[in-house]
Amino acid sequence: MRKISLDRINDLFAAIAAEFRLYLPVDTNGGARYEEWAEGKILSDELNTVRSAKDFFFPQTENLMDFKTEGKKIEIVDTRSETEDFVIFGVKACDVRSFDVLDRVFLAEPQDSFYKNRREHSLILSMACAKPHETCFCTTFGIDPSAPMGDIVCYKTEDALYMDAKTEKGAALLKKIESITVEDNGEAAEKQKKVIRERLEKLPLHNLTADRFGGDKTAEFFKAPEWKELSASCLGCGTCTFVCPTCQCYDIKDFNTGHGIKRFRCWDSCMYSEFTKMSAGQPRLTQLERFRQRFMHKLVYFPANNDGMFACVGCGRCLSKCPIQMNIVKVMKTLGKGEEKNV
């Protein structure tokens, strides 16, 4: 484990940035968000960014290909190029897990070359959550916020940052910054882990369990009468989807530039009435169906196809961002009939 004192953290960022594009959470009027580091950018103390870290691999819009038109001629232009290596700093355990969820989708055959390209060129420096929020429930899905995954795991204390390489890529990076860091015995990190685990006990959603859900529950929940009440006040906006680290639906659209077509993909939400409205029309015609789809997907359909892995990481973004305060926790509690894990 390597250590660097916090007053020298800028040196660390500068050293990484000398080699890679470095992204880290910074504070803005609208809360924390990932920005490329430059001299003067300060690491945010917020627990989580408003938008999740999925943007790095699956951005909201991205160009897929171009068609150049001239008169009646059309030429197809492949706009793909190899991404440069980049580092994402400060990813929390929940978001790190979300990459596993997304990998299941985008790296399964046929692989999504755009996603894969970025994934392969990334280095993830995760960060343990010193102070989880009341909206956090990652432990429900077996995530340990005190020991996130990633290439390097970081612990930030009052005065120092501790870094522990988990992969070869991570170790290589730590090696590169050896000159500005010092070796550490890991005590401080262990101490913080302990504090975090104690704090988890105090979280209001600590006892929430997903045991009642899983790939085999379609029949049980699909026709549940509770969906009606749960979905009644849903506005059908895409806030939950767009802040969710695991939502991965997209639409492919053409933009006519006047000189040709830019074919791009952009996030879509199963909450939208226009969702998958292709030639056949949207298959889910009421907000109830669309609402149900989102939660059934996360809690039932996705595990069914992915060895029981839930498509929720308990980051709590939807809990704090939903305009009408309806969210996956309320759904789980209502459908699970308030069942909680015995402590």
Binding site: G30, C237, Y272, L319, P323, Q325
Partner: protein, 329 residues
């Protein structure tokens, strides 16, 4: 602290359910935390006793829900705060629902708390206690923090335009007055900036937009069957802002579409996950309308003619108007 309690509202609802005036109640349902109340329907006193809440986080404007709610059989009871009643009237003006199917109980409001501001006070909110002038936030790890209640109000409540109900069947408590608020101060501040500063300000704000459509979907003036931005046939459809032009396009046109109809309820800014001050766009239109064509408050009365569907022979010319909105600043 709210002047009206949960118990009063439950009793009123039970009375109206009991005497058959209404067959369901649109209210707030308690959530996991003190601040995450959800709009919900109740049909019995028992259900209300169990889950109904009323307090500092019941800010959602219920008027828009009536569009869908009144398509159902029977009559619904809805509790409306003063600002909600303006949206209520505006929707009636636009024939968006049947007045006969709603029973409105006007309730006083002393301003709703801003969850974002509360969360900025402490990390890990266990609960929030309102003691009148002061608000105490009990946090999970750091103990209690007490702050001025006024500081915890969102801009729309700090600059509340009216404590007066402009529509109701019945009123709980005393009705208030229209307030001469400082709601245009922020707009004026922007007007006084140089164009470059204004451009930088909005570029920064709007660049955060993720086009989740929460502002539109919550807006009581946005009740189109299908929004032009969702409609591939409109020629301006766009699902995600692929560049900064489209961010501006969406918000300018949305503000223009609700210009003269927006009651300034502030829901757009409340729900924005990126905290974009969208109400400053709407308020600019309201301020301009007031200055160019005389004071107009959308929703103040049912059936009033909105400024954009009206004119006089001596309205200012566009160049003059733009100039005026500057120098008055």
């Amino acid at each position: 602290m709210q002047a009206v309690t949960r118990e009063i509202l439950i009793n009123k609802a039970a009375e109206l359910l009991g005497n058959g005036t209404v067959d369901r109640v649109f209210g707030w349902k308690k959530g996991e935390f003190s601040y995450d109340v959800t709009p919900a329907l109740f049909t019995t006193r028992e259900a209300m006793d169990a889950d109904f809440v009323f307090g500092d986080f019941c800010g959602a404007n219920f008027s828009k829900y009536l569009v869908a709610e009144t398509r159902k059989e029977g009559k619904v009871l809805v509790f409306l705060k003063p600002c909600d009643t303006y949206s209520f009237n505006q929707l009636l003006t636009e024939h968006r629902f049947d007045r006969e199917k709603v029973y409105v109980v006007g309730i006083p409001c002393s301003g709703m708390l801003d969850t974002v501001k509360i969360k900025a006070v402490a990390e890990g909110i266990a609960s929030v206690e309102d003691n009148g002038d002061r608000v105490t936030v009990h946090s999970l790890f750091d103990g209690d923090v007490t702050v001025s209640r006024n500081d915890m109000l969102p801009d729309r409540c700090k600059n509340c335009k009216s404590k007066k109900h402009v529509a109701y069947d019945e009123l709980i408590g005393e009705d208030g007055e229209v307030i001469d608020s400082g709601r245009f101060d922020e707009v004026e501040k922007l007007e006084k900036m140089t164009p470059d500063e204004r451009f930088a300000f909005w570029q920064n704000e709007l660049s955060r937009c993720i086009r989740c459509n929460a502002c539109r979907d919550v807006c009581p003036a946005c009740t189109c069957e299908k929004c032009v931005f969702d409609n591939p046939d409109s020629g301006v459809e766009n699902k995600a802002a692929a560049n900064s032009f489209e961010e501006k396009m969406f918000h300018i046109i949305r503000a223009f579409h609700v210009a003269g109809r927006c009651t300034d309820c502030g829901e757009c800014s409340r729900v924005c996950p990126q905290h974009i001050p969208l109400h400053l766009l709407n308020r600019k239109f309201i301020k301009d309308i007031n200055e160019f064509y005389g004071d107009y408050q959308a929703g103040a009365e049912v059936g009033s003619r909105a400024p954009l569907v009206n004119y006089t022979a001596d309205d200012p010319e566009p160049a003059e108007a733009v100039e005026r909105s500057h120098h008055d600043a």
